[in-house]
Every structure is written in C-alpha cells, then in structure tokens.
Symmetry: C2
Subunit: 791 residues, 2 copies
C-alpha cells in the first residue's frame, strides 16, 4: 500500500496516510467496478483477473496502453443496456460496425457488448484498468502509446502497410509495435472485429503475464518486450466448440460444478449476467461455438419456446464471436407427433427437418447447426430404420446447408448386440462410410476408443477417414478423473493425444493427430476442421467446481486455437493469470499441474488399465464389478485379471484391435516390448511375473505404480502448502482442502485396487508394500446413490 | 465522491483529486474486504450490505461507534481459519468464552467465527466499517462512544445496574445508551453471547436504516436517536426454524433458487463459505434452527457418512446460535435392514432409534432433533402399523429426550382413502390426540388447511389443541405464488394468519394465532413454542432466485422473533437495508411490497378460490383439470364451478368444515354475508348472480378481481420504473425484467381462468371486460415438463 502511495502521490505520504486509508476503506465498499465479480478472490474472475501489476511491470505496460483507438467504436454512452443486435448468418459478424458503447453503468451492471469491437474495447479498458490502476481512455485519434484496433475496413491505411493481413483469415490477428500517423502505437489488426477481439485478449494476456512472444509455445520476454511486439496468430481449426451436456431441467450429465449455467426456466426473458462473463472467458481463448444441451437430447429443445431460449443465449454470445449449436434427438419429429417415422429417407421426415432449420434460422440467423448422438447407448438413430449413419447425418445436413449450418455426428457408438471388443466398434462402423458424408458433416470422434479414461491410446479413426472431416471430442469435465475434487491438469492428456503419431501419412509417413485435425478434409470446396470439449462449466461461483479445474477449460480452448501448443506453456500462462505472475509461484504451480494427471493415472488405472470405476456414477474404484447386463459394462471385461495375469489382449491373438491402426503403429502396439508401458495392459494380457523395463515383475510394478500415485498425490498437497505466501488465503484454503481429499481418495483407489487384484492373483505383497487399510468387502460395500453428474 | 473527499480530506481537494481517483480505482481492484461478496450489487449481500451512509447520518452514527469493547473476545489473531469448537448440548453455547478472533485474512476469506461473541464483534466491525468507511477498533477498555458487549458473566458490574436482564431470557438483548466507568457508551447486554449477537445485529439494523425504536413495529427516530437508546427485546417463540426441502442429490423440492445450498457431495471436507453468510443472515433475524433436508426424507440421511456431513454444517452454524435438525423417514431402520419392522411399539425399533440418537449426539452435541412427515402423501408412518401419530412421535421423542432433542411432527396429512373434505383431515386426525404427545413433541401445522395457497383461512387446529404445543409452518418459497418470478411479499400473508382471531379463548374469548403460538403448551415443565418456514434459499447468487424474494426470508425471520410484528414495518426495514435508506425509495418500495401479494391473489385465486394451479409443478393456471386419480388432487374438486355457480360449500349443508372452528368463528364463516369476501368461495358455493357487497353480481365481481390483479401487476412494474434513480443499475434491471414477466403471467392467469370459467358458466363477458387473448384449448395445451422445484 505504502509503495503504491509513493508511486502515485505527489506529496509526502505520511501526512495523508490516514485520509488515504479512510478513503480506501470506503471505496472498497462503495464502488462496483470492473465487472460483475468485485475483487474478492472466489474464483469467479477465472484467468481474467487483471490484478494490479508490480511497479516495474506497471510502468512498462502503461507506456504501451495510454489510450485505446478503435475506429468504428463510438464513445457515446446510451443509457440502459445495449440492444441485442440482429446479425445475418456468416462468420464472423460484419467488421467495422459503428455502434455506441453501452454506458459505464450498464457495463458495470454486466450488460453485454453489442459488437465484437465494443467487446474488445471494453475488455482492453477493463484489463489495462485493472493491471495499471487506471483505465486507458477511448481516444478519437492516434497518440503515442495507444493501442489501435483496426481492420482494413475501419482503417483503409492498413492496406498500404504490408501487413499481409490476408494470411490471417477471418479470425486471426496481428500484434505489432509500429508507427501510425507518426505515433508509436501497438497495432492490433485483423480482418474482422472478432479477430480484433481475439487480438485484444492476446495483448492483455501478454501484459498480465509478461509472457511475450508466446503463442501457447512458451517463451518469456517480459513486459519490456511489449514495446517490440511482432506477432501474428490465426486459429488452426475452424470449429472450436464446447459441448454442454446440460439437461433441460438444469441438471448436467457428468457435471460437477453445480447445475447448468443455462437457467432455461428463466430464459428467454432473464439473461443471466454470467452468460456475458462466459462469453468473455471463451472469447479470451478463441472458442467460437457452444452446443447448449446434452447429446442425450430431448425433442423439446427444438420446439418454439426452447428455440426462443436458445436465441436469447445466442444474442448474448454473438458479440463475443460465439455461435450457438443444439444437440438434436434424431427421433424428434416422430416424438413430437409431426411425422409417423424418423426414417431419414422418408420425405416427410426430411421436410420436417428442413422446415425446422428454416424456423431456427429465423430467430438465430447465425445458428451453428446440430450435434447428434445416434444409435448409441439407447439413443434413436438411422439404424433403427436400417439406414446408415451417413443417411442420417446427410438428411440433417441438407436441411442446414442452405443456411451454412453444419452437422457434428458423433462416432461414439456401440451396438446393442454383444460386442467383439468395444474399442473396435466406432472404427468398424464409421471407416466404411468414409467419403459418403455431405460436405457440411463432421464426424466427431472421442480422443480414445473407450470413453474418456485417464489414459487411452489415440482413437484409431484418426487418420483412417481421409475423405471425412473428423472433429476431436475431448472431455474437459472429469467424469473419470476424480470429478472436480482431484487436481488433474488435462493439458498434458490433450497434448498426448494430439501429439500421437498415427503414421497414416502417405506410405506410413508421420502424421500426428493434430496434423490430421488441421488438415481436415476437402469436401465440396470447403475444408472443415474442428474440435469439441465436453464442458466443465456450471453454476458454481468458481465455474468449474474447483479452481484448478478452470485450467482444463483454459488448456482446451488454447489447444483448440493451436493444437500444437505446449501443455506446459499453457499451464504457465494459466497459473500466472489465475494465481500470481510471481515467477517462483508460476514455476511451482506449473510443476504441480504437469505431474497431476499422471498421478491420477497411477492411483486409478496404471499401466494401461481402464474402465475400473464404480457403476453409473463412475466415482471410485470398482474393478470387481462383473454383474452388469452387458459384458462391456463390467470392469472385469476390461482388466481380465485372473490367477494367470492381467490385461486386455488386443493383438491378433485377441480382439485384434491393433489392426485398426496404421501398420507402423499396429506393429508397435502388437508387441508388449515395443508398446509403451503406460499402455501395456490396454493391448496385452500378460502374466503376473512378466518382466517390466524396470526389472520388476508386472505384479510388483503394478503395486509400485499405485504407490507412486499415492505419493504423487501427497506431493501435490505438500507443494501447495509451500505456496501459501503467494496465494490469497481463500483460494489457498479451497485448494488445500481438495488436495487433502484427493490424497484420501488416492489411498482409497490404491487400497481397493490392490485388495481386489490380490484376491485375484493370489500373490503376496512384497516387503515394504503396505497392506490395504480395509478388507476387500469394505470397499465393495461402498455405495454412492447421490453422486453428482447423473444424466 | 467529491462530497466524500471534502468530508475526509484535511487539505484542498482539487489538488489531489487525480491522485485520489487513481488510488480509488486501484483499491477497488486490489482489495478484498468486508466479506466474501465484494461490493457489486448482485444481491449476494442480502440486507447486510452496510453501504456507506450519507454524511449527516454518518457523523451521528460514528459518534456511537468509536470502538468495540467485548470482554472475553480476545483480539489476538491466530493464523489460518478458526477451529470448529466442540460445544456441549444446551442452548445457547456458554457465554463469556474467551477465544481468539480469526485473523483478518481468514475472516476476509470467509472463515467462520468460533463463538457467538466473535461473530458479534466481527459483524459490528464489518457493519460499522461499511456504514462509516472505517472499522471501529476492538478496544480493551471502555471509551466514549464505544459499543460495549457484555453479559453478567463477562462483566460482573452489569448486575448492579438494575438492567433486569433476567427478563430477557437466554436469547434476548438490551440496547441502552448509558454511562459505564464514566464513559458514554452504547451497551449491548444479554445473558448469553448469542443474545449479544442478536443485539449487535439489532444495533446495526438501526444504524443502517435510521429506524430506531422499532422492533418490527414501525417507528422512526433517525440516527440521532442512536445516542438515546433504551430498548429490550426477547424472542416470543423458542424455536425459530427454517425447513429446507433439500434432497440429498442437491435438488430442492419446491426450490426456485438453484440447487441446494448444501453441497452434500463435497461435505464434510469442503465447507462452502456460503454457510457462514447463511448463518450471519439467519442470526441477523434471530432464526436459531435449520432442518437441513427434505421432509420427504431418505434413510441415508441417518447413516454415518451423512451424519458427518450434517455435523460439518452444524460446526459452521453453531457460533451463530443456529442448531441443526434433520428430517427423519419413519421407516429408516426397516429400510436400512436393521429391523424387521418400523412399528413404533416394537422394542427393537425403539432401541434402534435410541442408539441412532446417541450416535448423532456424539458428533452433533447440540443437535436439535427430528422433523417428521408421516402417513402423508405416501410417506411411511405409524399408521402403517395401526399405531397413532402420537405413538410414532413419542417413540422418537423418547430417543431424543435424554439429549434434550425434540420432535416436530407434521400435521399435514391426508389419508389414502377417498376424503370427505381434505381441508378437514388434519383436524380430524390430530385433535383427538391432544394431550397424548410427549413433552418434547411439537405438532407442526401449516398456516392453512389445504396447502400454502395464495390465501387460506387460518388452520382450524390453531387453538384446538390446548394441551399440545403447535408449531406454525409457513412456506417462504413461493410454490403457489409465482415461484421466484413474481413479486409477492409474504409478510402480509403471514401477518394475516398470525393476526387471525381464532376465538378459542375461554368462553370464546379473543385469541390470535400469534397468541396461541406464543402461549405454547405447558408439558412436563417445559413450555415449547415454535415456528417453521419452508426455505426459499438456494445456490443462486442472490440466494432466493430474485431480489424481492429475499424479503420473505427476512419477514419470516423477524416475525418468528415477534409474531406480532407489523408486516409494513418489516417491509420498510428490509427495503431500507436492501435497496436504499432514502425515505422516498423506502416508501415506494414498501407500497409495492404491501400490494404485491393481493395482486397475486387477485390474478390467480380471487374471492377464496384455491388449488387451481397446474398439476405437479403447480405453475400456471389449470382450473380445468379433472382427470387425476384422487378427487382432491383436481382443481375442479376445489372450485366446483358449474352452470349454477362456484365455490366449495364448507357450511353445514356441505362438508361442514366450518364446524372445526370455534363457535364464534364458525358462525361467521357459515354465512356468506359475514364471511370476508376474500374467503367467500372457500366456504360457500354461490350462484353466479349472487350479489356482492360491491353491488356487482358474483360473475362480474370475479372478472373484476382478475382484472384488478392484472392492473396491480402492471402498476408494480410502473412503480418500479420510477425507482430507477434510487436503485443500482443491475438490480433495477433484474427486478424490471421479472416484473415484466410477472405481468405477462398475470395476464395468462387471468385469461386462462376467465376462458375456463366462462366455458362453465356460459355467461357473457360484460361490456369493457376484455376477452381472453387465446381460446381455452390453447391454455389447456401448455405443458411444463422441465419446471423447477420437482421433488
């Protein structure tokens, strides 16, 4: 405080200190400012906290943020909140739109911006205002130190500057320290207002962290480098989409952060101000689409009252560059009584969908399209009428095509019949359809072939459908990784999949999943590319159920922009913005994050084990479950442990799932000696005395992995304890409580798993390995009928 | 701002204004202070906002709050959060406990106080700090202008001052401007620390509103009167309890404010900081108990893991004088497999409950007891074994008695057999049991005999069971009054019931419901009295789903303390604290509140109509429903409208429910000419051309009431629009949006009801009465499968 006073006061501080103190105390109480959240560290502000910089950084940042110049963004302040604009279809909304900014009071009250340019200006004022303690004014003309937001449309002079803006596409941006009209400025340039918004967030990220020169790739630079910016960035995937598994009654399937952010009941009249902050957070990452409702969908969502609700959300999100999509239930017209079948080849059905699409686009002119889960886990689909997935998807695609809408058709299917190996089914069903989908269909494929396990090999469909655009589906919510309780940074998991070399290039050449996604598929002249993340966002104050779970939303969004970004660099960015830019704190938090998911793998499902969790709710260990109707619902189906050994033989001698991979990879996975040990028991059934790389027997190695998981969980909480001086009291305690709980649950997973596997293997625990705390029957007796996140 | 600067700065303002401005801007961003919420007006702070007073009031208040003196509350600040104390059973916790205050950082982070005295000191510092801009320090010795918190135990000198503290009981308090050790002080005195906490809140309420000399009875005085305080207050009812109908999966039956505040899944490890603010809000009203779970209970709540969760909540609430209760399912031991029956006379069953009570009290030493819904709406109960309600309640009471726990046994029952008149059932079943309940049983009776309708006559059981303590059950959540959407201030409704003269005194003498409740019943030496409110509290940021719904929590709590308080005075208090102490604003808001419930009655169920709402969810009009299994589930059962007339004949010629009232009241209700018109059709079936006091025919009067309801809804939103200058932008818009929606729903209720009743009466609409906007079939077609609040 005193340092702050010295920095600002032109008179001796001592004399006025009491007055200052009184004022400070007052103003904290009196003044709502800079957003909806107030300043208390309850997690609401996410990574957009914009807390004051230290003095040195502040001076450097202030020099490059003396004012905001944004041609086309009028400074007039109409009273009341901004009207929701009506925007014609097409992405992004037209640039250079001249519109008045909402009034200061309206913005403080959480009113949405009316255009992306307004959103960009407001964010720069909020952000620099927070970092510097003073909002840079919106200036009409260029001045030294200004941030200038411009497109070729709003500032024709840009065209002559050799900026090569055409390479940025419709969403990319350029940040450059340059001279404009003789003044030293920071130019944020783009081809659209949405590009400017992304550029504004990128500039604030650099200013707040001092991490200049990064684009999710690491690098430092420090705030001084802000005055020598020269960076261009454009998204590598077109569709960067959240999937909300949110039900119409406001429950959230696999949600661990309270109920749905969408207050469906109150919509469309009541537009919760959280929607604006949700939009800001997503725009800060470059996320440009959101599917509002659960893939296990209901017909109601496509009736007029619900379309009106979705339209109200769309109106709020639109100025932030985000389109709304809906999950459609394939049997909707049949269930609404409008048709007598849902057969996709029935003309009445196709006509109904076409009319429905027309109806939607009347109120949501930039509606994104449908996400469909069909013929999977009891959902209806085209196979009910002996039609193919392509028949179903293409029928919907034709209804949407006139409006430039798309269909995201999920490949997560499994047949009702007794399966050969569930890991093989999506490939078996979809690969033969390659090349038969309409141009505006993407097939959305989960990262692995089972279901969002703590670790899975990359899905064999990646690279296997060269004529079909594949969309990645990651899970951000931690259905299988400890809900919102456990610290498990998923950036490493995403990177592991995205970086997997599928060897599906020509002649077995290298092709990582990221490259495959980025390549998309040329169909009908358009090259569609995309990625989806199952959201972990709810109504809890901290959005994600825990502070660290925000990092997974962050990492997903940043990887969606650039699938080749580095998980560690993203962790650093996130930690610096979310907790503290102090380098020692950033380093420590980043290390914790980087070890965290491996800890979870170790104490839950080491060495390639998978699907060992409790029935239905998926909470806690239950490797003993063997009584469920379908074989492939049972953990015993997956681990296949018996007196002789453990693991799922997916080689030619077993299910031969390895054959779904390109030959180079298939060969590697076919041999336990060349299979990474992290995936050993995914592909191989091995005897308990199989000799591991460590020299240990498999049984001993398995025990050691469980123990190392517990030790890592313990280390996480010990590291966090040391961070206390760097972290505000409230969030430090929040996290500490959860880390203690995580540790206890790690011990539970370890003890229950060992107790069970020992009962199967009949092997003794080697010296030094602690016996489980309770007998196996105790672990079997635990029930969780009220676990959150049920569908 | 400028005025503020002038008031505080000892130097010319102009020179330093920019510095001040910069500082102000900074500090808003940097400083978390005064509680968990920050300063933005999002409703989180409820009526405990403590925003800065205007200059005149500030100077007067500052003079009486120069310091806090609280013998027994040490000023030492241990690091970390306060430990949860272990408190022996008995109410309230022992006074004069010497304990360290949690550190400033811990309190800012939302840590709970450790004792009621700490809570009182912390609240005074927070409250005066907010009102005055500067926290009064905690002083070790008495000084001029200090607020002194003292009990006879902590300050023996009190005994000689003639304060008559013995008349205040264990929870009352005294506020007196007096001299102590030669200094002018404001003395807050009580016999317990909890009394001091209540006194502290009362003092802050007066300081914040300028309403001195009120105790829920009106009066003004202004802040100047704070220096001449002489007031004593003690609660008139012992048990002032919230009933949470919160399920273990965190849904809330009849909840319209998000999910349950109790994050059961995260408990007991994670203690949400909302629990502390919940405790503060309740303590500010004098609420001293809370039933955590739904009366439609589950056996699980009484298993060890759930008892531990309840204990964690109890630990947080205890320092605020609040005891925890649980709803118990009568068949719990049977369902848990511990007994072979739930027969209350089976020794094994009684033994199980006794052991269970012992188990609970080990972890919750001041556990309050059980709330039981038995043999009602499908819940199990003693009648399943041909035992009486008294048999069931007494068996539980005997298990709790050694620990001083109580049973609250609900009288809301209705038999499975076809009923005579549902309004009569509770009386018929319970009155014969008067005098047969154990001393620690209260029978909890809803305010009316049907079910929380917009208007009901007072329940005939009040005054009819003189040997049994009756507990009032009000609904705070608006199951039947427009959810959280409609503005309907229930203070008037509560007061209407509490003020009803049941004429059950000796020889038919006057006895209001409030007096009957306050009299309680002498049983076994203890005089039990109580009141319960079904909570409208959830996880929404504003707690209650709308800003105005907070007023119903407030009014309930204040009426629980003093059932003879005045609803208008409470509305004024609430408005001044919640929105603005500006007299013009308070007057206008109070007027809106006072008319609001009558508006709802008029557009939903005028003239004594009742139970006309949609099936199951109870949203919207459905007077036509006639197809439900039980006759008394159908609206047509209640309104009995046909070509000849409308209304439920409850006179001797009909169900004779009037005979359940004392003779004087029964006579009044038996004659339509002496029945208040507000309850006319509750008691009488009358022809459409029945002549009303207005001179109009009943049909015309009914139409006029519907129209006046719509006009009142319209007036509410127009009045609110005029309040814009007085209310922060965000909350003003929040309320405005809901008032518009309320108006639209008022029109819907009016139109649908008129369309239906016209279809039955066959009568034309008189000139000037607008025809419904849509045909009756449209209103019948509306469905709300995803309405909130389902059980």
């Amino acid at each position: 405080m005193r340092r702050l006073l010295k920095a600002l006061a032109p008179v001796p501080v001592r004399v006025f200190a009491p007055v200052f103190a009184a004022l400070l105390s007052l103003c904290v109480l009196a003044a709502p400012a800079h957003g909806a959240s107030g300043a208390v560290e309850d997690g609401y502000d996410l990574w957009l906290r914009y807390r004051p910089l230290d003095k040195a950084a502040r001076e450097q940042v202030r020099a490059v943020a003396t004012a905001i110049v944004a041609p086309g963004a009028a400074a007039a302040a109409p009273s009341g909140s901004a009207p929701a604009p009506s925007v014609a279809a097409g992405s992004p909304p037209p640039a250079g739109r001249v519109a008045a900014l909402p009034s200061a009071a309206a913005m403080a009250a959480g009113a949405p911006a009316a255009t992306p340019l307004q959103a960009a200006v407001a964010e720069l004022q909020r952000g620099f205002g927070g970092l510097l303690g003073k909002e840079p004014p919106l200036a009409a003309s260029v001045q030294d130190g200004a941030v200038v937001l411009a497109t070729p449309a709003s500032m024709p002079a840009l065209s002559g500057m050799g900026l090569k803006l055409e390479t940025l596409g419709q969403e990319g941006y350029l940040l450059r320290s340059t001279r404009l009209q003789g003044r030293k400025v920071t130019l944020v340039a783009a081809n659209s207002d949405t590009g400017l918004l992304y550029g504004a967030f990128a500039l604030l990220r650099k200013a707040g962290t001092g991490m200049v020169g990064t684009d999710g790739k690491g690098g430092k630079g420090g705030p001084a480098a802000l005055s020598a910016l020269d960076e261009r960035s454009a998204p590598k995937l077109q569709l960067r989409v959240l999937n909300h598994w949110d039900n119409l009654d406001r429950t959230v399937e696999r949600g661990y952060a309270g109920e749905s952010i969408w207050n469906w009941w109150a919509l469309p009249e009541v537009r919760d101000r959280r929607y604006v902050d949700y939009a800001r957070a997503n725009a800060s990452l470059g996320i440009n689409g959101t599917v509002l409702n659960n893939v296990n969908s209901k017909p109601d969502i496509l009736t007029a009252p619900w379309i009106a609700k979705a339209a109200a959300v769309a109106d709020t999100l639109r100025p932030y560059g985000i389109r709304v999509y809906l999950s459609a239930r394939f049997s909707t017209p049949l269930e609404l009584g409008a048709t007598k079948t849902a057969d996709p080849l029935d003309p009445a059905v196709a006509a109904w969908w076409k009319a429905k699409a027309d109806e939607i686009y009347k109120t949501i002119p930039d509606f994104g399209g449908f996400l469909v889960k069909a013929n999977s886990e009891g959902q209806p689909g085209p196979q009910d009428y002996h039609r193919s997935h392509a028949d179903g998807a293409n029928m919907l695609a034709k209804a949407l095509a006139p409006h430039k809408g798309i269909v995201m058709w999920r490949a997560f299917v499994y047949a009702h019949e007794k399966p050969d190996d569930r890991a093989k089914q999506a490939y078996d069903e979809f690969k033969p359809l390659d090349g038969t989908f309409d141009a505006n269909v993407l097939v959305q494929v989960k990262n692995g072939a089972i279901d969002f396990q703590p670790r899975e090999p990359a899905h064999p469909l990646f690279g296997a459908m060269p004529k079909t655009p594949l969309m990645m589906e990651f899970q951000i919510t931690k259905e299988y990784l400890g809900y919102a309780t456990h610290l498990a940074y998923l950036g490493t998991m995403y990177q592991e999949t995205l970086g997997t070399d599928m060897r599906t290039g020509s002649g077995g050449a290298s092709a990582t999943v990221a490259q495959i996604l980025e390549a998309g598929a040329q169909q009908g002249g358009s090259r569609l590319t995309g990625i989806a993340g199952v959201a972990n966002i709810g109504s809890e104050r901290n959005w994600s159920g825990s502070h660290f779970d925000q990092a997974n939303w962050y990492a997903f969004g940043r990887l969606a922009w650039n699938p080749q970004a580095d998980a560690r660099a993203l962790a650093r960015e996130w930690a610096a913005q979310t907790f503290s830019p102090e380098p020692a704190a950033v380093a420590q938090i980043t290390d914790m994050m980087m070890m965290s998911r491996e800890a979870v793998v170790n104490y839950m499902t080491p060495l390639g084990l998978h699907h060992l969790m409790g029935t239905g709710h998926h909470h806690g260990p239950a490797p003993w479950v063997a009584n469920l109707e379908r074989p492939d619902w049972n953990p015993v189906y997956y681990h296949r442990a018996d007196k002789g050994g453990i693991g799922f033989d997916r080689t030619a001698g077993g299910s031969n799932a390895v054959a779904q991979y390109a030959p180079g990879l298939a060969r590697q996975y076919a041999d336990p000696r060349t299979t990474p040990e992290t995936m050993l028991l995914w592909f191989h059934h091995l005897p308990w005395d199989y000799k591991m790389a460590s020299g240990r027997k498999l049984w001993d190695e398995l025990l050691a992995r469980y123990d190392s998981g517990v030790a890592q969980a313990d280390e996480l909480r010990q590291r966090w304890a040391k961070l206390k001086p760097f972290i505000d009291a409230r969030r430090h305690e929040d996290v500490a409580v959860l880390l203690d709980k995580q540790y206890a649950e790690a011990v539970w997973w370890r003890d229950a798993s060992i107790a069970y596997f020992q009962s199967v293997s009949g092997l003794p625990l080697p010296a030094g390995v602690k016996a489980p705390g309770m007998p196996l029957d105790y672990y079997k007796s635990l029930k969780f009928p009220y676990a959150p996140g049920r569908g």
